[in-house]
């Protein structure tokens, strides 16, 4: 089938998502909860694009292409929603994310400035867990994007991580909140590899992140 991305026609197979079509056309859309090694999740709502005829912006990663679809990745409303969402995400972190994290890069791309007090309100407060020799779990930086849980599920298959809580209290935990070592974790590091904020990261890199 054929879809039009920002004015360019692209041929795609049945089952292709709008995000895949955008990338196949050489363009891109910012994403936060998406990892190409995992099934699309649809949680972050940052990959919003405009689709002609749709009632509102659509999330590119979970929207399947339809023949004749016309996509506008620069749609104003879509970008506004994406930026507002990232602003909300920044508001739940203890401070601005380190420059080289995916979240910081997305924020810059969307023009969301690090002016931290735009959304005063509660943040997550938890101590860092550094019990594992390689993996640091810093729950205050978790934005519940689910990528680590899905990496452990869909890529490694150790099922050592889970989302916990509900609503704003959502976070993630290893095992029964016992830390990596007591869980079924096999220390593969797929979680650290995919985490966009450094909530899970290599301990050896912690010093570098702070820098």
């Amino acid at each position: 089938m054929r879809v039009e991305i920002d004015g360019t026609d692209v041929e795609v197979q049945d089952g292709t998502t709008v995000l895949q079509a955008v990338r196949a056309a050489g363009g891109d859309v910012p994403t936060l909860c998406f990892d190409e090694r995992q099934e699309p999740f649809g949680a972050c709502r940052v990959c919003m694009v405009g689709v002609r005829g749709a009632p509102g912006p659509m999330p590119a990663c979970t929207t399947p292409c339809r023949d004749g679809m016309r996509v506008d990745t620069a749609d104003e409303t879509a970008r506004r929603i994406a930026a507002a969402t990232v602003e909300l995400v920044l508001s739940e972190l203890p401070e601005a994310p380190a420059e080289n994290t995916e979240l910081a890069v997305i924020a810059r791309d969307l023009g969301v400035d690090g002016e931290r007090l735009r959304w005063p309100g509660a943040r997550h407060e938890r101590p860092d867990d550094l019990r594992h020799p390689y993996l640091a779990l810093r729950q205050e930086w978790c934005i519940s994007c689910g990528r680590c849980v899905r990496a452990c599920d869909e890529v490694q298959g150790a099922f050592a991580l889970t989302a916990t809580g509900r609503g704003f209290a959502s976070n993630i935990a290893a095992g029964m909140d016992q830390g990596f070592r007591e869980s079924t974790c096999v220390s593969c590091g797929a979680c650290a590899d995919t985490c966009p904020t450094g909530a899970i990261t290599e301990i050896s890199l912690l010093g570098m992140i702070e820098r």
Binding site: V186, D193, S204
Partner: protein
């Protein structure tokens, strides 16, 4: 200063592609390459985290020479090389070149192995060169060449996702090949019908549809039984057998003796389970067989691999996506070190040293003459050393005193040698006996290629320099060769690869440039076309037909008896790699710091062993002590441990029993006595458990 390179992991045979990030001469972190063909953006804790060994304070950074007093002292390269040259020359002149033997490292690159075997053959003049595939998959290599023609997997890891069913026998990939294990696990959750065959209930058994737990050493009967059911129930691919194979008639006749009831008697596997397993495999549209050292490290391991080939051929399940035979090669370059001819009977590409045309081609290229008779295999080298016939060895990157079987005999051999050179990255059990120790380079410090279990040749690139005065193995070996009078003239490993391509028909189109990021699966034609799938049209044997073999079951080399009432199976664990020389020098030691013995509750009760107790394990060849853990993952009658810790010198227990065709040691079956070692005397008598 930061350096980012894409390279290939130096741990196991999966061959993950990794992005190594180094700053100021130290590797800071490693992440998986998203486009890695085998790993696709994933890796395991060893490839990802266990790199700190590369700058561990115990890294060898200068040559060492053993002083008369007995200790190793630092020396310069000139001194060390001069000593090596003078000693080897002296021994060669006095006792002939065959009094010298070399052992190449299956962890080293293809180019390293190539120059080592060239050095042994051309500079020294002997075919006494072998590598550690001897002790793991040499049976696979032998059997695949006999049955199908080429010494390698018939497909790729991609066949895992394409298979509707699979048999996994004698392997525990979620621990030993974690990324492949993860792919298999995901495939089973997507509907691949997995049959696991292992005396232990491995993790993948929880995801498969059927688990068979045969007695250790009875694999042949089991595989013959599967074939029997396939033939009996009319599930053979008659057209395939008729058009593409030879030898079915004799095989068919032999199968009469392996009914499910017969097999149950021999192996302990229930007849109904055997039948079900055969149906699952044979009735699937596409089905693959994967196996590991639980098949090969046996007295008749090579025959079992031939029987596995029989099964696949009978069902026509070879040469298509999803229908592959995949031996899970252990080391990162065990495939490659054999491909490179670091073997006593073949040159590169398994071309026989006895083949006149082949030998002449090599003689011409290297400017030397060579014998047509094969050299010594590793076990033969130790025997010859003890007998006084072998006087010198050059051991490159293998800790034989820890990893080879019958440790007592190995040590005896090493002590008997007049001259021993060891080239390695750390001092280890083997360097205790060395006269010269050369500081080598790790996979993070060199360039070249590795060949993974998919026959995929992939590039290795250095992220950091070798520490101190250590040099790349390629440089060391070519320098020594030149000092011995045979200058190979290679400016770099890429040059060596060009020569390999020129001398090896199956590697004709291989070059560093062509390998790129995707790698090349040999055979590689001159135009660069590689081979993800083998045998789609024809087998690599005369007439293009595969060969079935009628090989009956014979018992293993070790069986239980009054004195040794339990069978010990040895294997690997996730967090450590083989001798543990690298992983024990990383924080992996923090995760798993000691070895343990797995024992079934029935045996533990019978032998008065409590969970966590210290036990002794004794065989006819040695005795070790370690702590026990009681688990229902294994069957009564056998125990399991690994060999990653020198403090628990597991291989002391393994005797000389080995594969009849390849001399691969029977690590997987040894009769032992297990009993508790009291740390404190018992003050109250203990009552025996009921039943």
């Amino acid at each position: 200063m930061t350096q980012d390179v894409t390279t290939t992991c130096g741990y196991c045979g999966v061959g993950c592609r990794l992005e190594a990030h180094a700053t100021d001469g130290r590797v800071v972190s490693i992440s998986p390459a998203l486009d890695g063909p085998a790993n696709k953006g994933h890796t395991c804790l060893k490839g990802r985290f266990a790199h700190q060994f590369s700058r561990h304070r115990e890294r060898l950074s200068t040559p060492l020479i053993r002083a008369d007093g007995g200790d190793l002292r630092p020396a310069s390269w000139d001194e060390a090389i001069a000593l090596i040259v003078s000693e080897l020359t002296r021994i060669r002149d006095a006792d002939g070149p065959d009094a010298i033997a070399g052992l190449a490292s299956s962890r080293a690159t293809n180019e390293d192995c190539y120059v080592m075997q060239r050095m042994m053959r051309a500079a020294i003049g002997t075919h006494n060169i072998d590598n550690c595939s001897r002790v793991c998959h040499s049976p696979t290599s032998w059997a695949l060449r006999k049955s199908l023609g080429l010494s390698g997997a018939t497909g790729s890891f991609d066949d895992i996702e394409a298979a509707d069913a699979a048999i996994l026998i004698g392997a525990n990939p979620t621990e030993a090949h974690p990324v492949a294990g993860a792919r298999i696990k995901q495939a089973t959750l997507r509907g691949c019908q997995l049959v696991t065959i292992d005396p232990r209930r491995i993790e993948l058994a929880d995801y498969g549809v059927l688990h068979l737990a045969p007695r250790p050493g009875t694999n042949a009967a089991l595989v013959l039984g599967l074939a029997h059911v396939v033939a009996r129930d009319g599930l053979t691919d008659e057209a395939f057998l008729a058009q593409r194979t030879e030898g079915y008639a004799q095989t068919r006749a032999l199968l009469e003796d392996y009914t499910p009831v017969d097999v149950q008697r021999i192996s302990g596997v229930p007849a109904a389970d055997l039948e079900r397993a055969a149906h699952i495999y044979a009735q699937a549209a596409e089905a693959s067989v994967m196996w590991g050292l639980g098949v090969t490290e046996h007295r008749y391991g090579s025959e079992v691999v031939r029987l596995i080939c029989n099964l696949a051929l009978m069902c026509g399940k070879v040469g298509r996506p999803g229908s592959a035979l995949l031996p899970l090669r252990g080391q990162n370059n065990v495939q490659g070190s054999s491909d490179m001819g670091a073997l006593p009977d073949t040159f590169t590409g398994y071309q026989s040293v006895g083949d006149e045309d082949v030998a002449r081609r090599f003689e011409q290229r290297w400017g030397v003459t060579m014998k047509r008779e094969r050299g010594l295999k590793i076990p033969e080298m130790f025997d010859a050393a003890v007998a006084g016939d072998l006087k010198a060895m050059f051991i490159f990157g293998e800790d034989v005193a820890q990893t080879d079987p019958d440790t007592t005999h190995v040590i005896e051999a090493l002590e008997a040698l007049e001259f021993l050179v060891v080239q390695d990255i750390f001092e280890n059990e083997t360097t205790r006996y060395a006269d010269v120790v050369l500081p080598a380079s790790s996979f993070l410090e060199k360039g070249g290629t590795f060949t993974n279990a998919e026959r995929r040749i992939q590039l290795v690139a250095p992220a950091i320099d070798p520490p101190g005065d250590a040099r790349t193995d390629f440089e060391i070996l070519t320098t020594i060769s030149a000092a011995l009078g045979h200058d190979m003239g290679f400016a770099s490993p890429a040059d060596a690869m060009d020569e390999i391509a020129a001398l090896t028909p199956d590697w004709a189109g291989v070059s560093h440039e062509r390998i790129g990021r995707r790698g090349l699966q040999w055979p590689v034609a001159a135009d660069g076309t590689d081979s993800p799938i083998l045998y789609a049209e024809t087998f690599a044997l005369p007439g293009g037909r595969a060969q079935l073999a009628a090989l009956p079951y014979k018992p293993p080399g070790s069986e239980v008896c009054a004195e040794f009432g339990v069978i010990l199976v040895t294997g690997r664990r996730l967090e450590h790699y083989n001798a543990g020389t690298m992983t024990r020098r990383t924080a992996n030691l923090d995760l798993v710091g000691a070895e343990w013995l797995e024992i079934h509750p029935d045996d533990a009760a019978r032998l008065w062993i409590e969970d966590g107790a210290l036990v002794s394990v004794r065989s006819a060849h040695g005795r070790i002590e370690l702590h026990a853990r009681v688990t229902t993952r294994i069957e009564p009658g056998h125990v399991f441990t690994a060999f990653h810790f020198p403090e628990v010198r597991t291989n002391l227990l393994i005797g000389p029993s080995a594969d009849v065709n390849t001399s691969c040691p029977e690590y997987k079956v040894v009769a032992v006595d297990v009993r508790p070692v009291s740390e404190e005397p018992r003050r109250t008598p203990a009552i025996a458990a009921a039943g």
